[in-house]
């Protein structure tokens, strides 16, 4: 059995899980309009982590080393998640997994790069800095698999505990705002001029966010800590095998991943209480997801999407949004999908618009990404 011993998220909504959930409960949106020409030629909605606060929080850590923005986010997140988790980061039996799409991509800029060693731009180097700072003895396992990286990191952590390689795994993910990413998605005409509207009729693209998330996995049974009631039941990954940037038109890949997750969890679709969808806000992704959900006989299940609050946090998304799902399950709360008003997909999904209470025991978390990849993870609340 793989339990959750601790977690943390750092996003445009704040620096702790509690702070994030409080803001979500208060309908606070982390998306702002940025005029910063360093990230975009034209004004664009983005979800940024408060830089001043990031420096202030990080200054509390006694360290003479210089860390990048990405590394600071991840280090702060892991340290907070470890507090009260009962997991010792220096234990050889504690693994560490890091998920990111572009790592220290800001180091492509020569001015930034000159402050660090050449190899720091490598994803494994960023992970190494993080691992060293938190005092873990194992080589980090780095996953870079587009927008499903975070979900994959949870699954790989679960699998490595189940096969006995580790007793605990620190699963952390992070991605930072950059012109690289914004311009790239703009070249795909995939960036919405307004804050994203997942599954909505008026949706017109993604809103990029930045952030970090950490989930501490453990084989230790629950000890009364609130999140240790959550277990990772299983999951699956798949590939649409259709196109490198456009998702499957039928949802077959994601449907298959959902079935793999249900099979490993030993559950019928009927038992799922709540779906935390990927919902990027593009025409194609949301429609594909809707098809997959319906195909898996989950069409009437409550679904929500968090990207309307914090944007698409890329390599951290699967982890951050899973943590939000944990809080939902613990509180038996279905949070509204910010940005959603009118259904804009071909399946009659039950998208949460206002805060609801419901008994939540089994949650399905979905993710899809460039390269045709999909991931589905099932969490259970004891």
């Amino acid at each position: 059995m793989v339990y959750i011993a601790g977690d943390n998220v750092i996003t445009s909504l704040g620096f702790s899980t509690a702070e994030n959930i409080r803001k979500i409960s208060e309908n606070v949106c982390g998306i702002t309009r940025s005029d910063d020409k360093r990230i975009s030629r034209t004004p664009v909605p983005v979800a940024l982590v408060d830089s001043d606060r990031l420096e202030k929080e990080f200054a509390k850590i006694p360290s003479k080393k210089q860390y990048t923005r990405l590394e600071k986010l991840a280090i702060l997140s892991i340290r907070d998640a470890l507090l009260g988790s009962g997991v010792d980061p220096s234990d050889k039996r504690t693994g560490i997994i890091f998920s990111t799409t572009k790592g220290n991509i800001d180091l492509l800029d020569p001015d930034m790069a000159s402050r660090y060693e050449d190899h720091r731009i490598h994803l494994w180097s960023a992970a190494h800095e993080i691992q060293q700072q938190i005092g873990n003895p194992n080589t980090p396992i780095v996953i870079s698999n587009a927008c499903i990286s975070g979900s994959l990191a949870v699954l790989v952590g679960q699998r490595l505990i189940n096969n006995g390689k580790f007793d605990h795994v620190i699963v952390a993910g992070a991605d930072i705002m950059s012109e690289f990413i914004i311009s790239g998605f703009q070249s795909f005409q995939a960036v919405s001029e307004e804050p994203c509207k997942p599954f909505d009729k008026g949706r017109s693209g993604i809103t990029i966010g930045e952030g970090a998330g950490t989930i501490i996995l453990t084989t230790d049974p629950p000890n009364g800590k609130k999140n240790s009631r959550i277990t990772v039941m299983g999951g699956g990954t798949s590939n649409d095998a259709n196109h490198i940037s456009g998702p499957s038109r039928t949802g077959d890949g994601l449907y298959f991943a959902i079935n793999m997750a249900l099979a490993e969890a030993g559950l019928q679709a009927e038992k799922i209480d709540y779906i935390s969808a990927h919902g990027t806000g593009t025409g194609y992704n949301d429609e594909m997801e809707a098809k997959a959900i319906a195909w898996a006989s989950l069409e009437r299940k409550p679904v929500n999407i968090f990207k309307g609050y914090i944007g698409h946090t890329l390599g951290a998304a699967g982890i951050i949004e899973s943590v939000y799902a944990f809080e939902s399950m613990i509180g038996n709360l279905l949070f509204p999908s910010m940005g959603f008003t009118n259904l804009g997909v071909s399946k009659d999904l039950n998208i949460i618009k206002t805060l609801e209470q419901a008994p939540l025991h089994f949650c399905l978390k979905l993710a899809s990404g460039f390269g045709g990849c999909n991931a589905a993870v099932i969490y259970r609340k004891e």
Binding site: S187, F188, Q189, H243, S245, G246
Partner: protein
């Protein structure tokens, strides 16, 4: 117009990495998408970049792109009409 058509053929061969395709193999009036050259959605986006980079014409609405990029001929007609 003839010169523009020839130029466009060279440009799309280069920009879209159409290796082993010669300009004489592309018919000006033939559809670029679907069968034939096998162009896809990413190619369509690159054609939008081409239009802006080489001809200073910006296409903001991707739906408009469908008509403009139907064939080399429609592209040439559009450029003649809109070039700066």
């Amino acid at each position: 117009m003839g010169q523009l058509i020839t130029k466009l053929k060279q440009e799309i061969i280069e920009v879209l990495n159409l290796e082993d395709v010669g300009p004489d193999e592309i018919e000006a009036g033939a559809p670029l998408f679907g069968e034939g050259l096998g162009l896809d959605s990413i190619d369509a986006l690159e054609l939008i970049v081409l239009l802006e980079k080489n001809y200073g014409i910006k296409i903001d609405d991707p739906k408009k792109g469908k008509d403009v990029f139907y064939s080399i001929q429609t592209m040439a007609d559009f450029i003649e009409k809109n070039r700066l």
